[in-house]
């Protein structure tokens, strides 16, 4: 017999989903990254909508699996993950908390909102140079600090 899902509220499910981190940047949740878009509680199924970041990003498959596994652990057996392309994900969807988490992890957060120069996450110097537009994952570029000479990842603007 299939249980009805009336007892689970959207807010409760959203709170559970907050525990799911980005598999490649495990300090930021999919909610803070702006990937988690919506949750719909239907009669027997929970539908979670996510906004993919980069279209070729392999992390999306793993995020889908994580959502399903995590909600099943909470007793929701039927979970459907829907990938939606509109609205398109942009880095402006990253929350302030997410930006702080990125910075603390050593990744310079995207600067489209603030218009500030890109600062080294180690020494905070803004005397930095782009080494490559493309870094270890699709969403990052590679920078170098000209003061402390450390290379670092920059989460590039995507708007």
């Amino acid at each position: 017999m299939i249980k009805t899902l009336k007892q689970f509220s959207k807010a409760q499910i959203m709170a559970w989903l907050d525990a799911i981190k980005d598999p490649e940047i495990p300090v930021i949740s999919i909610a803070d990254l702006g990937v988690l878009y919506d949750v719909q509680v239907e009669k027997t199924t929970v539908e979670v909508s996510i906004l993919p970041t980069y279209s070729g990003c392999p992390a999306m498959d793993s995020i889908q699996e994580d959502i399903i596994k995590h909600l099943q652990k909470q007793g929701i057996e039927q979970v459907r993950v829907k990938i939606i392309n509109s609205p398109a994900w942009t880095t402006d969807r990253i929350t302030e908390q997410g930006r702080q988490q990125l910075h603390a992890y050593g990744i310079a957060p995207p600067q489209s909102k603030t218009g500030q120069p890109i600062a080294c996450p180690q020494c905070q110097s803004t005397n930095t140079t782009c080494i490559s537009q493309f870094g270890s994952t699709a969403c990052k570029a590679l920078y170098r600090c000209e003061d402390c000479l450390e290379p670092f990842d920059y989460f590039k603007c995507h708007v």
Binding site: P52, Y54, S55, G56, C57, P58, N85, S86, A88, T90, I131, S132, Q133, F134, G135, S136, A138, L142, K156, H158, V159
Partner: protein, 250 residues
């Protein structure tokens, strides 16, 4: 109209897939580490674009097919990409210039397709455009850097230009089905797009101090499934796994 839309989705998907496959061949062969990573990052984005187009094509297909079926189980004469994207990767200058032509084309095309009356296509274009802009920045920078550096680099990129230039008009080719889509505001006017593209390309070639050849063999045929011999070898490599082990998953 559904048939024409599927035809166009395959044109877009096949172009991105073949371009992506050629870039992916650079994995482990880039001129230096950062560039190796950049080439494969672009390849991954293009594979993502191809996937979105294939998924939509599969969705509206009359047969029960998946995006993977469309990518891995069609033969040469069913592919709709222009010959440009199936050409061998060549040297780094050749890959760079080919990528620039393709990126410049996609940035202009996707900006127009965002206004398509066919909503799924407009949505994919909006997403793909953001990524194609990065690709264009990179390939433009490299064209300038190679052209304005040593005599050897300049000679290599000039030679690439001589080889590739007359493969580019095929990007803008249409047929009766695509003309119907233009009339229905699903896709933009390719002749107008060509003018914009030409203007951008002329400007860059001038900055690079490169000379476009004045005559050459004009490539055509991809839209009709008539391809160069290179595509067959590419598909043999790319499709091997699905054909030898049908339904195999990673």
């Amino acid at each position: 109209m559904k048939k024409a839309i599927k035809h166009y989705l395959l044109r877009l998907a096949d172009s991105s897939l073949t371009q992506s496959q050629r870039l992916a061949e650079w994995c482990g062969h880039g001129p230096f580490l950062e560039e190796d990573i950049a080439l494969t990052n672009v390849a991954l984005d293009l594979l993502g674009h191809a996937k979105l187009f294939y998924e939509q094509a599969a969705e509206i297909s009359e047969q029960d097919v998946s995006a993977d079926d469309l990518a891995f189980l069609r033969d040469v004469d069913q592919f709709r990409n222009p010959i440009l994207t199936e050409l061998p990767r060549g040297d780094f200058a050749y890959t760079t210039l080919k990528q620039y032509f393709f990126d410049q084309f996609n940035v202009l095309l996707y900006a127009e397709l965002m206004n398509s009356q066919y909503q799924p296509l407009a949505e994919i274009a909006e997403k793909a455009l953001k990524e194609s802009r990065y690709h264009l920045t990179r390939s433009r920078d490299w064209c300038l850097r190679l052209s304005l550096s040593t005599a050897e680099a300049k000679q290599k990129i000039q030679s690439a230009l001589d080889d590739l230039y007359f493969y580019t008009p095929e990007l803008f080719e249409t047929d009766d089905q695509l003309k119907q889509l233009l009339a229905d505001n699903v896709m933009p006017d390719m002749q107008a797009l060509k003018q914009q593209w030409q203007q951008q390309v002329d400007q860059l070639l001038q900055q690079c101090q490169l000379q476009a050849p004045t005559s050459g063999w004009l490539a055509t045929g991809g839209l009709r499934g008539e391809h160069s011999e290179y595509l067959g070898y590419m598909l043999a490599d790319m499709q091997f796994l699905q054909r030898a082990y049908p339904g195999c998953e990673w």
